[in-house]
Amino acid sequence: MKIRSIELANFRKFVGTVSVDNIGDNVNVLVGRNELGKSTLLQAINGVIFEKAKSTAQHVKCFRHFVNGTVPEVKLVFDVDGKSWTIHKRFAGQAGKAILTCSDRRIFEDEAAEAELQRLLGFAGSRGGGEPGIWGTLWVQQGQSFGDPELDEQAQRTMQGCLEAQVGAVTGGARGQKIPKAVREALEEIRGTRGPRGKFKDAMDRLDEVKGRAAELEAKRKDVFGLMEDLARNKRELNEARAGWDEAAHRIEIDGERTKRMAAAIRTAEIASARNAAGLAQERASNARQMVHDRAKVIAELDQLELQFKGFDAEAERALARKAEAKSSLDASEKTLANLRTQASRNAERTRKLERTRVAVSLNAEINQHQLTLKKAVTLETESTRLSEMIGAIAATDDAVTRIEEAVTQMSAAEAAMNAVATTISFAIEEGVRRRIFVDEVALKMPSASFPVLGKTVIAIREVGTIIVEPQIKNRNALVLRRQNADDEMKAALEAARVQDLASARVATAQRKEHERRLAEVRKEMENLAPGNRAKKLAAGLEALKSNLGELRGRLKAEMEKLTLATLPEDERLATEIEKNHEEGARLATDIETAEAELAGPQDLLAQADKKLRSAQEKVAGLKGTIDTKKADLQAGRATFSDAQFGANAEALERDAIGKAELLAEMQKSQGESLEAIDARIKRLEGAAANHQRSLADLGNEATRLTALIEANEGTGVEEMLLAAEAERDRLAGAVAEFEEASAVLQLLLETLEIAETEAKNRYLAPVVSRVEPYLKMLLPGANIVLDENLRIAAIQRDGQREEFEFLSGGTQEQLAVLTRIAFAELLLGQGRPATVILDDALAFSDDERIESMFDVLMRAGEHVQIIVLTCRKRLFTRLGAAPLEIRKTA
């Protein structure tokens, strides 16, 4: 469809008839101020196509003029399929009229016109009117251009038709679209991201629970059977216990054992009495034997002791002789040692005297040293005085030299200044006449000479006359004064330094410095003569030295008097004597050590001999006491019982003991079973009876307990419950397996569908994307557009980054939306269905640079798509370069 012209009569704001004609194939622009009626024009286009002429809908009634309410009419001329069509509608409610005229002379009226119009432009009709479908997308009303070009269902079908015609059917139809959703929902009902859910999870949870219950019941079932077996065993044991016990026999046996015990007890008492008697007799006999034995032992011991006493006595005698011998040897050694110690004492006395002499010699040497120092001090003092005088005689110092140097500089500068302005008088005189020439009364010294002159200068040539030169110099007086001042300063400086010139000043200064350096050295040497000696408590300085010298002389005199020396010996001789005396001392010390060591042997021998003597004497004394005591005891015993009486008594007691022991043995032999054995048997029999009774009671109690437990469980029917639990477990396991399978199946189905759908969508969207992208490159180089399956702009891809459409700027959103609409129109064109794009006040948000790019895009697209731009921005859209349209008032 391409729009060629539109004519409105009494439509909304328009009174009378207005028209827009000559709408071209390419880009057309209608510029007009606000309120001109551009949007009304678009409303009229929509109205004449989609609204029925006989419509009584409120929004159709609103087509009438705002004020006068006149019946509105719209006539639209357009081309479709190479034919020109005119639709003319008069919106008068039930009296409305629609006439569709074709260039092939066909005419359709009213409903036929409405139906043919629908067919021609491919929009869906409805009771109230047509649904704009794709036209609603392509014809952008004011304020809607920046939004994503949403496609209604009809528009989507239209575009889908175009796309499928191009790429084949890929979407699976409306029904197919719902399948992935239904499958996903079905899968989500039983499995979520965290695993099974819903009925699947319920079944799994229930299965776990039932498995647990079945396991518990299985355990309980075994327990109950175990109880039954325990009870059966218990009953068998009880029967066996009862069968194996004879109570009467037990009674008879235990009574017999008790009677036996009484007889055995009496016998045991008799034996005990006999055992006591035998024991007593044995003890007496034993004592008697011991006494006989003890007396014989004492006699033998006495003999032995006396023999031993004699031995010890002889030993004491030998020890006494050895002690005397050792004492003699020790006395001789001690005498030698005492002699050596006397010699050593004398040697030590001589050493002390020699050492004091050496001290006196040292004092004397120190006194001599001090005297030499004092003598040198006098010499240095004289030199110091001499140098000080020489220094005082030289007035030239570094400061004086500096002053002279500055005066020379001033002088040179003053002379240079004078020379600069002076008049130079040059002479070139024959030698023969030179002496006749005087300059200011001074004879000319050289035949050739030049003089600078500042003031009046008289050149007298004897015998000739005078020449007066009087230069005219402006500041001559000042220059002369400066030179005079410099000359005065020079003289003053030289006089102060007591020199003739600068060179002699420098020589004098150097001499003065040399004297000062030498004086400093002499003073330093004087200071070093008596530096003091902290060790000798000698203070620094010559005065301290002099005082010390006196003290030393006093000490030397006193020392010599003590040593009774008139003169001091020579150092060398004294040293020799001291060394000799030291050697003698060392020899004596060695001899003493040797003598002391030699003393240790005799001392030890003497100590040993003494110890041995004391030991022998102690033994002799001890043995003597023992022998005396034993002899006294023996004698006292014999006084009571003789040795013969002692032996006879022992033999009698021995015989009595043997008799009583034989009697005891005889009684024990006939004793029979012991009391302990009978007691043990009685205890065992009583225990057996108690055990039997206890066993019966225990078994009975256990039987009661087991019976109670079995009865408590059997009523519940553990195995029956187990069967039910196992049946439920099997059912649930089956259900879980079915859910597992269903989940896997749905997952596989969903994945397969989603992959296929994604692939299809990519293929499906490719034609739109490929049409948008050339324009996008003009607008946003390097960007790609991303559409969703509903042909909505989802995002753009720029520099590898995805930017969601909704977050783009309003201007960019608007531009992308326009590009996409153009792409849709091109797609329709590709299907042989040219479509007009109408933009009402679009591109309101575009900046200057972008709008230029958009103008390029529109003009490029306008080469094959009809575009009508309605705008109020005249100056800006002049740059679009499109064919201008205008609203004309028709007479």
């Binding site: 059917a169 699976g172 197919g176 719902k178 059977f225 029956e720 069967l723 059912r731 199946v745 759908e757």
Partner: protein, 388 residues
């Protein structure tokens, strides 16, 4: 002497492979068969019912389960009920049978927990002795009926043996060994040997029969079965006129529900019609049928839909119980199936891919999942179609 011979009631059995409601109904049928047997005894003029073991499924049954069976027996006061332990409810000291003995049993109920001849009736002056061979363990290596050979009874007395196990040489249908000599009836001079343990009714000899379970409880066909009817569902009415004559034995139907096992291979969608008519022909009242349906072969997606609608969702819900095994049934989507999902578009692409995966048997698990995914896609597509 007329009596009813039955065994293997296995009261209290759970049916884990059915839904709880169905399982409960089947459990109830096992209790109710006691009354059916009582009625059969009255109707047959039989004075006794011999239950040759496995009255109960297990030993530790609940009091209501135990008592309800006994109470049902009590209500047939003219009928003597003779109960003997089998392998499921074998005798154990202080166990089930001691518990029953402590329960104030009615006088018409007698427990036979020890071997030995017991006079149970007098038939025209001829004493009738029962020689039970109760099980004291699940499995016994020796022939517990061997004692019958030596067990003395008065001359001329009618000797009826009752044992639970497998007759040697007759296969191994029972659950435990417990072998019984096939010649026992003759060697022990028995007029009749009432056998239990096998759920299938079978004649071993003129004097030796398995009664089978009076109410079926498992999907097992008899050897060389001509129909889909499974074992069990009947008892025997036995009439012994004299110790020497062969007894007259008559089978009596006792089952409330018939258990069928149907195996079918479907190679074409059209065969579903035939299957449907076969199943409907099992009984005019499908509510009496418990069915094990095993379907193999291949169906298209459309065929599978029809199968589910006409078999599972129609007959399946009318049955008392259905166990359906489709492990051998593969989905073989046709081009038409896939076109029906979609002729083009991504859904069709996905369907084609799933079909490829389903056909790749190098990964059977994934192939199976892909087939089911395809089925789900087909159903989902139809469902969406129904909504739109």
């Amino acid at each position: 002497m007329k009596f009813i011979h039955t065994s293997d009631l296995q009261i209290g059995k759970a049916f884990g492979y059915f839904e709880p409601v169905t399982a409960s109904i089947l459990q109830d049928a096992r209790q109710a068969v006691v009354r059916t047997l009582g009625d059969a005894a009255i109707k047959s003029d039989a004075s006794a019912v011999l239950i040759a073991g496995d009255i109960y499924e297990k030993q530790q049954m609940s009091q209501p389960t135990l008592a309800r069976a006994i109470e049902n027996m009590r209500s047939f006061g003219t009928v003597q009920w003779h109960l003997m332990p089998g392998n499921h409810d074998h005798f154990r000291e202080n166990g089930l049978w001691d518990r029953l003995a402590r329960m104030q049993l009615p006088s018409n109920v007698r427990l036979h927990t020890r071997p030995g001849a017991v006079q149970i009736a007098e038939d025209g002056g001829v004493p009738v002795f029962l020689l039970p061979a109760p099980l004291h363990h699940i499995s016994s290596a020796e022939d517990l009926s061997a004692y019958m050979d030596r067990e003395a009874t008065p001359d001329g007395a009618i000797r009826i043996g009752m044992a639970h196990g497998t007759i040697q040489g007759f296969g191994s249908e029972g659950e435990a060994s417990n072998y019984v000599a096939p010649t026992r009836a003759d060697e022990a001079g028995l007029s009749y040997l009432a056998m239990g343990d096998w759920h299938r009714q079978m004649k071993v000899s003129e004097r030796c029969w398995y009664s089978g379970s009076p109410e079926p409880d498992r999907f097992k066909l008899p050897p060389n079965a001509l129909t889909s009817l499974c074992n069990g569902g009947a008892a025997l009415r036995v009439e012994i006129n004299s110790a020497r004559m062969s007894p007259e034995v008559l089978s009596i139907a006792t089952a409330r529900y018939q258990w069928h096992m149907v195996e079918k291979t479907l190679t074409e969608d059209m065969q579903i019609d035939l299957l449907e008519s076969d199943l409907r022909a099992l009984d005019s009242d499908l509510g009496k049928i418990v069915l094990d349906l095993r379907v193999t072969g291949a169906l298209s997606l459309a065929g599978r839909r029809v199968f589910e609608e006409r078999i599972l969702q129609s007959i399946g819900v009318a049955l008392r119980g259905l166990r359906f095994d489709e492990a051998g049934l593969v989905l073989d989507p046709t081009e038409q199936d896939l076109d029906e999902i979609d002729r083009a578009g991504f859904v069709r692409v996905a369907a084609d891919r799933l079909k490829t995966i389903a056909g790749n048997m190098s990964n059977p698990s994934q192939a199976h999942h892909a087939a089911l995914a395809l089925k789900r896609l087909y159903i989902e597509h139809l469902r969406q179609g129904a909504r739109s």
